[in-house]
């Protein structure tokens, strides 16, 4: 009986220690804890999902890590149902008439963040590479192996912007260098980054997240609650569509 008691005490102490260690480790790496987010990419040739440092104010989501894109090596390939497939350099795209707007982007994960974005409207690209009459949308192919579809109607919306600059500076790798599209009335997964190729298509196609998750291919921001990162994540009611605060 004594031996049994000792074993129990020993076992009890060991289990208590293990529990405490697990608790401390769990607390240290809990979701939302900055300590839980190692900085995998700073100083490397790669960029990917991160929420450390300045990105606590504007989370970065990528589908997969990608090698940083060099402007000199990059062109935008435009193909599919277009009159003539073409390639555009970054300088050519930067030469298009520029628009600037302030927009808040909202992730389907519930957070949002705001910035000033500059770039060109889709109509400018359509002039250079018109779609065939049967085209109804565009499929985006991104550097992180992400794909997404947007209709021509959504691309021609006056608030949809093809972005090359953010807050007055060239897009950072994290925010989608060299080219991203913002659609402020749709969740972030409908806002492709690090675009390398677009294809005009004649039917709706499911993007990466809509194929594997419970995410609608429409992606319009719905009435609900927002947790803006730049406003302390304080919950705010939103009406759906573009967030205007």
């Amino acid at each position: 009986m004594r031996s049994f008691d000792r074993l129990n005490r020993r076992s009890f102490l060991a289990r208590t220690f293990a529990f405490c260690a697990a608790f401390v480790q769990g607390w240290w790496s809990r979701p939302g804890s900055a300590r839980a987010e190692p900085d995998y990419f700073t100083g490397t040739d790669f960029v990917g999902k991160t929420r450390v440092g300045k990105f606590k104010q504007f989370y970065i989501n990528y589908w997969k890590p990608l090698r940083r894109i060099k402007a000199a090596d990059w062109t935008l390939e435009v193909g599919g149902l277009c009159e003539t497939p073409k390639h555009f350099t970054l300088d050519q795209l930067k030469g298009l008439p520029t628009m600037t707007q302030t927009s808040r982007l909202k992730c389907v994960e519930c957070w949002s963040a705001k910035a000033e974005w500059s770039g060109f409207h889709f109509s400018e690209l359509m002039k250079l590479c018109p779609p065939q009459p049967e085209a109804t949308g565009v499929v985006f192919h991104c550097g992180d192996i992400y794909t997404e579809h947007l209709s021509l109607a959504d691309l021609n919306h006056p608030r949809t912007l093809w972005v090359t600059q953010m807050n007055g500076a060239p897009l950072s790798d994290e925010h989608g260098f060299p080219l991203r599209v913002i659609v402020p009335f749709k969740y972030g997964y409908k806002n492709p980054k690090a675009i390398v190729k677009i294809e005009y298509v004649n039917e709706l196609q499911y993007g990466t997240w809509s194929k594997i998750g419970p995410y609608s291919p429409d992606g319009t921001i719905l009435p609900g609650t927002d947790h803006p990162l730049d406003l302390g994540k304080t919950p705010r009611r939103i009406s759906g569509g573009e967030i205007t605060y």
Binding site: P214, G219, L222, P223, G224, G241
Partner: protein, 206 residues
């Protein structure tokens, strides 16, 4: 709480809401309050949200996918919704009219009563789930009106500044029933075409 039998004049697809008092708002805080008793004269309101095929009958250029003829029409601006109602001899509902039709005389939280269903709606999807109007047999108001908590949000005639007030709600994985209380409201620019936003019409009775 129990209500008397609903008064339904359903020779057409509209339902008579009888004149009388009703409870509007909830609590004392914005945006749902203040709670108060109002009086409305009689009016007719659509039994269901306007469908794609009904909308197409007035606007032949309207296109929708196969199988969606009886789904609620969405992606229409407030201006088009208003024009549709005018074309058929009606108008968009005021906020009080919409809320009385949804909550009944005594101000239910949901159209069917004060308790949210135990079963979660559409548990595996985050977007708008459209079905034939009137499909949900629980989402029925004391006056027999369908889809005032689920389905899609709806334009009203009323405004807050430059924005139009929308009422209703929709159900999905993330929203659950949280935004389907019949006193909920939101505001949208009238020129927007949104996939979660449709409408229904009312007619005055002189």
């Amino acid at each position: 709480m129990s209500l008397g039998l609903p008064v339904i004049a359903s020779a057409s697809s509209m339902v008579l809401i009888p004149e009388g008092p009703f409870t509007m708002g909830k609590g004392n805080q914005s945006p749902h309050g203040p709670e108060r008793r109002l009086f409305l004269g009689p009016f007719l309101i659509d039994l269901n949200e306007v469908t794609n095929e009904e909308f197409q009958a007035q606007f032949p250029d309207h296109r929708f996918r196969k199988g969606a003829a009886r789904h609620p029409v969405t992606k229409v601006t407030w201006y088009l919704a208003k024009e549709y109602c005018n074309k058929i001899g009606g108008r968009l509902p005021s906020e009080p009219e919409w809320e009385k039709a949804a909550r009944g005389e005594y101000g239910f939280i949901y159209p069917w009563g004060d308790h949210k269903p135990k079963k979660r709606p559409h548990p595996f999807y985050s977007g708008v789930v459209k079905k034939k109007v009137g499909f949900n047999k629980q989402d029925v108001s004391p006056y027999g009106i369908h889809d005032m908590a689920g389905s899609v949000w709806e334009w009203t005639a009323d405004a807050q500044g430059p924005l139009k007030i929308i009422r209703g709600g929709l159900w999905n994985l993330h929203l659950d029933f949280e935004y389907s209380k019949a006193f909920e409201k939101a505001t949208i620019p009238p020129g927007e075409r949104l996939s979660f936003l449709g409408f229904r019409c009312v007619r005055s009775i002189d």
